[in-house]
Every structure is written in C-alpha cells, then in structure tokens.
C-alpha cells in the first residue's frame, strides 16, 4: 500500500496532513483493512476542541467499535459530512475523500514528531 509521503502517522493508525495551520485527520489504509466493512462513523461537531492523544470519535465496523485518537490538538473546523451517509467511503478511500475532521492545530510543532510514511510502513509491517 502507498502511504502518502506528506502525511504523518500515529501508532493508533491515524494520519494527519498539515497545511496553513489546518490539520486534516483520517485513519490509515491499514486501520480500515483491520476493521473490515465500516458501517458508522461518529465525529465531533465544528467548534469542538480535541486534545492530542485523546479520543475524539469512533469508527464502527461489523467487527468492532474503535476509538479514534487525535494526532494533534486544536479546534475542529470541519467534520466530513460524506461519512454520515456513506461510511463505506472510509474503506474505499481512507487517505483521500474519506478524511474525518479538520482541526486548527493549536501546536503545529507536534506534527514532525509523528511517524513519517516509511516509519509507519515499517511499524505496520512489524505489527502484522
């Protein structure tokens, strides 16, 4: 699987992309593949604040409900409405159209400390 080079990754299998102080957050291909068919996505509303390392929502598949952890902290500016009606998009395009939330990052310096694509690929290789 191709993990985009410009994203950063967490051990809990979220990805984050940073552009002009706005962090776009999603779950990785590996995460969706482990979860199986996703049937429901629970996300915070714009205006809510998320804290780095704390859970901000959950993804429900036919197998399990899994918490999603914020890779960076800040205020939610947008939640992906697409997932409310089409949760299956998260299986189809986890690194693109099925991003979860956008956050005004309160501490963008957290970003470089996360894993890069190569490190994440090694990490999931070791895990599976």
């Amino acid at each position: 699987m191709n993990y985009p080079e410009k994203y950063r990754y967490t051990k809990e299998h979220e990805w984050v992309a940073l552009e002009d102080g706005i962090a776009t957050i999603g779950i990785t291909h590996h995460a969706q593949s482990e979860l199986g068919d996703i049937v429901y996505v629970d996300l915070p509303k714009p205006g809510a604040s998320v804290e780095k390392g704390k859970t901000f929502g959950s993804v429900e598949s036919v197998k399990a409900v899994s918490d999603i952890y914020a890779p960076v902290g800040g205020e939610v500016t947008e939640a992906n409405d697409l997932l409310a009606t089409k949760p299956e998009k998260l299986n189809e395009d986890p690194h693109g159209a099925a991003w979860l939330i956008r956050v005004r990052a309160s501490n963008p310096e957290e970003f470089p400390h996360l894993m890069d694509a190569a490190e994440y690929q090694t990490y999931v290789g070791a895990e599976s």
């Binding site: 068919d37 036919v62 949760p87 599976s128």
Partner: protein
C-alpha cells in the same frame, strides 16, 4: 460432504405473525356480560380509549402455538449441542434449578409481602450470600446488581465512595489490554479516566509496566482472572501488592470464575472487590438480555458502602436494614432478580463443595484437551497450559484468505454453535473456545473432527468455507447492509 453430527431436515417456513392475521378472527369466546356494561369513554375519557390497535395480529390459538413452536425449531440451543462460547455466554442449565425456582412459595413470593411472610425467601438469599462468600473468600456481598456490567459499575462506585470518604476519589482506572470491553466502559461511566496496561509475551499483566503506571491518582486496577486468553494471572498477588502500596484497589471481573470455583479464592490472592455472573458460572439462564445476576463481593473496608438494603439477622429473624449512611444507595429494585438467585443456590447445593470443585476441574481439563487436539491445525499465540478456555489465531488460515468469522460460520454446518470470534483483541483473528465442564469426550471429539475438517477445507476448497453456512435455512446474512441500512420493524406492504 455432510458431517456425521448433522443431516438435512425439513424446516417449516413461517411468515411473521402480523402477516398471518385475518381481520375479525378471535382465539377465544366470552359469555354474555352478567353485569351492566360500562361506557369506557365515559369512565376513562376519550383520550385514554382506543377502538383498535393498529396492525394487531388476529389469529387463532393453534396458529399462535404453531408460529412460536416453528420459530423455536430454528434456534441452535445448549439443549441441542455444545456451545463453544462456554460459560462466558451460556453453559448448560440443569433442570433441578428450574424445578426449585418453580416451588410455589418461591415462584409466587411478592416483594411487598411483609418480612414476617418472606422469611423463607430471605433465607434463600442469606444462604446464597454465605455460599458465595465462601467461594470468593471475601467478607461481604450484595446480591442486588442484575448483570455483570451492572456489578462492575456497582463495584467501581464502591471503590469511588471509599476513596471519596478518604478525601479524594482519584482520577484513573487501569485495565489490561486483554480486558473485557465492559471494564473500560464501567470506569468511564463511573467518572474515571482509563489507562491500558500492555500484556507481556505470556499474555499476562506486565508487572514493570504496572508499577510504572500506578501512582496516587490511580483508584483501581480492573482485572479478569483467569484473563480473556484463559491464562491465570500468576503474578496477581504481586500486582495487588503494587496497587495496595499506593492506596489503590484491585477489582476482579468474575466472568471467568468457572475456572476457579472450589480451587482458588480471589479474597486469598489480593482482590478487594469483584462481581460474579450467576448467569455464567452458576448456571442460571442467560441470553435474550436477562434477567441475570451480578452479585458484588467486597473486602471489609468496602462493606459500609454496599447498596441498601442489607440483609440482617436480628433476634432470629431476617430483616432489611436501610440505615446505612455511607451506602452508595440502591442499584436495583428490591434485592436483585430473585428467581435467578434461587437457581444459583439450587446449582450450588445440587453440586455441594466437592461437586463444584469437580466442575471446575472438568472445565479446565476439557479446554486443555481441545488445545492439545487442535494445536497441530491452528496457531496458538500464547502456547501454555490454559484454564477454562483456549485462544487460537487464524494466522495460518488467513494466509489462504479465510478468517476466524468464516470458519465460525462453517462450524454451523457441522452442527455446532460458533466459537467466540475476534476476541480477545490482543490476539489477531482470535478463535476463543470454551467447552465447559458438561461436555463429554464424545462431544468434544466430534467438535475436534469438525474443526479439523474445516482446517482441511481451508487448504483444499476455501470457497466452501468462505460461503458457509450451506446447511442452514438461510445462507450467510449481509451484515454490512444490515448495519448500514437497518430495517428495525415490520410494516405492512
């Protein structure tokens, strides 16, 4: 191939009862009124009276009987064969329990009867309390909680109340990564943060990681012993010492007590508070959402906080004590699900001490037998003697594209209920198998044959497994569409 345990059999098809309705049909006839008729609208007000119930099925008695009897034949049941889900979900319910629960004075006892007329029923609860205290090795117990997770919440609220009385409820509950999902959920509902403790490579709590995690903010560790891998936490005493040294407590989830009864007592290995699942270990009916029984046993220091009322013996009579200023209050109406308590006591008395111990030994023996017979065919991530259940992984079969859930569905074709799939989470693609004490070697061998046959199908004809079940009245249901676009009630066409 049709396995030896099953054979195709006529299964009656059945419409919903609503679809069988014929307007005006009645299953009864009543004599003419011999009292003056009352106008219900005048008596109750028009807003409280309706002329008809929308879509109410109108059928005869025999149609009702046939409908539900046919539906009942569609079920797999513990009375038909082995449930590899084990005591965790359903073990055999001996009929003596039912006979005792139907004794008139117990079955028809009313919770509002005066105490003087309820002494027998109260003695049943007193004797059950005593038996469960002997089994757990703890000091006091409440029979009030109605289920396991309810017991957990009660137990953690006791921990919280005790710590609050000491000055601070503290902030955090620790759970191992092999924990039942209800443990972190309980901690969250009780107002605590949850921190996960990683298991070591033997599937047990990592003592070093635990020691690092325990500080004066930690209220308790919630632990299941044996844990969800079916492994006894050998270091439980040392783990308890680590918690106690910092003024924290150890909560034990008693879901797996089927492996300990009559052999080891949680009170002897450092547990402060625990729940029991009467509907698991003590063989009361389970499923369909209850009713269950989740008694909570505690060490002495937590006793003042137990729910009201407490059962007391006063001048030779039993009475309910509501004067408990430190109590967390009531957690359930009256004193729990009494019918469940009666069945649990019947089970305990029918076995006696030595019988309960034998049941435990047989449960552990059966699970170890299955581990030994199946280990050539399935990967065993934690390869050590287990207790009452054994956890394999689907790694070998997943390489052929077949996962634990697929093999579980195929098992239905062989005449067995599926085992637990994909739990515990720390085993990738888990197959958790718990036979319980009741299964004979013959039944276990049939199960083993079925599992071996499935393993060889995975090698030779994986499509057969992937598209299973084939012998059932419906094929594999579309779980994904059912979850994404649920239809939760019938409507007329």
């Amino acid at each position: 191939m049709i396995p030896s345990k099953v054979r195709r059999h006529l299964v009656q098809n059945e419409h919903l009862i609503f679809e069988q309705s014929s307007p005006g049909k009645k299953g009864y006839q009543l004599p003419a009124l011999d009292v003056p008729e009352v106008d219900s609208v005048a008596a109750l007000g028009a807003g409280n009276v309706r002329a008809a119930i929308e879509d109410f099925p109108e059928v005869s008695e025999v149609e009702v009987i046939r409908h539900f009897t046919r539906l009942s034949t569609w079920n797999y049941a513990i009375d038909l064969g082995m449930y590899p889900l084990g005591s965790c979900t359903m073990k055999y319910n001996p009929r003596i329990n039912e006979a005792v629960a139907r004794i008139e004075g117990l079955a028809w006892a009313h919770p509002y009867q005066p105490e003087s007329l309820s002494q027998g029923a109260m003695e049943v609860t007193e004797r059950l309390e005593q038996a469960l205290l002997e089994i757990t090795g703890l000091d006091a117990i409440t029979l009030q909680p109605a289920a396991g997770a309810h017991g957990e919440l009660t137990g953690i609220l006791l921990v919280r109340a005790f710590l609050e009385a000491q000055g601070s409820p503290r902030k955090r509950i620790l759970t191992p990564d092999s924990a039942h999902g209800t443990n972190p959920a309980t901690a969250g509902i009780a107002g605590y943060e949850v921190r996960n403790i990683r298991s070591n490579d033997q599937g047990m709590i990592d003592l070093e990681e635990l020691a690092r995690a325990v500080d004066s903010d930690v209220a308790a560790l919630m632990v299941t012993n044996p844990n969800t891998l079916g492994v006894f936490e050998e270091n439980i005493v040392k783990a308890a010492d680590i918690l106690h040294a910092k003024g924290a407590m150890v909560y034990m989830d008693g879901a797996n007590m089927n492996a300990l009864v009559g052999i080891a007592r949680p009170g002897d290995f450092g547990i402060d508070v625990m729940h029991l699942n009467l509907h698991k270990t003590f063989s009361t009916p389970h499923g369909g959402g209850g009713p269950g029984g989740g008694p909570v046993a505690v060490r002495k220091h937590l006793e003042p906080f137990l729910p009201v009322p407490r059962l007391r013996r006063l001048n030779d009579a039993l009475t309910w004590d509501y004067d408990r200023p430190q109590s967390i209050g009531k957690v359930k109406a009256f004193y729990g699900n009494f019918g469940v308590l009666v069945r649990a006591l019947a089970y305990i008395y029918a076995h006696g001490g030595p019988g309960l111990r034998n049941a435990t030994v047989d449960a552990v023996l059966n699970a170890n037998y299955l581990r030994h017979r199946l280990r050539p065919y399935f990967d065993l991530p934690y390869d050590r003697p287990n207790m009452h259940e054994v956890v394999f992984s689907d790694d070998r079969q997943a390489a052929k594209g077949v996962r634990t859930g697929d093999m579980a569905k195929r098992l239905i074709d062989y005449g067995f209920h599926p085992y637990t799939v994909s739990f515990p989470l720390i085993v990738h693609g888990a197959l958790m198998i718990e036979p319980t004490e009741t299964e004979s070697k013959r039944e276990l061998d049939q199960f083993v044959e079925a599992m071996i046959a499935i393993a060889s199908e995975v090698d030779d004809e994986p499509q057969t497994v992937l598209t299973a079940p084939h012998m059932t009245r419906t094929t594999k249901v579309d779980e994904v569409t059912a979850a994404r676009k649920p239809i939760v009630r019938w409507r007329p066409a």
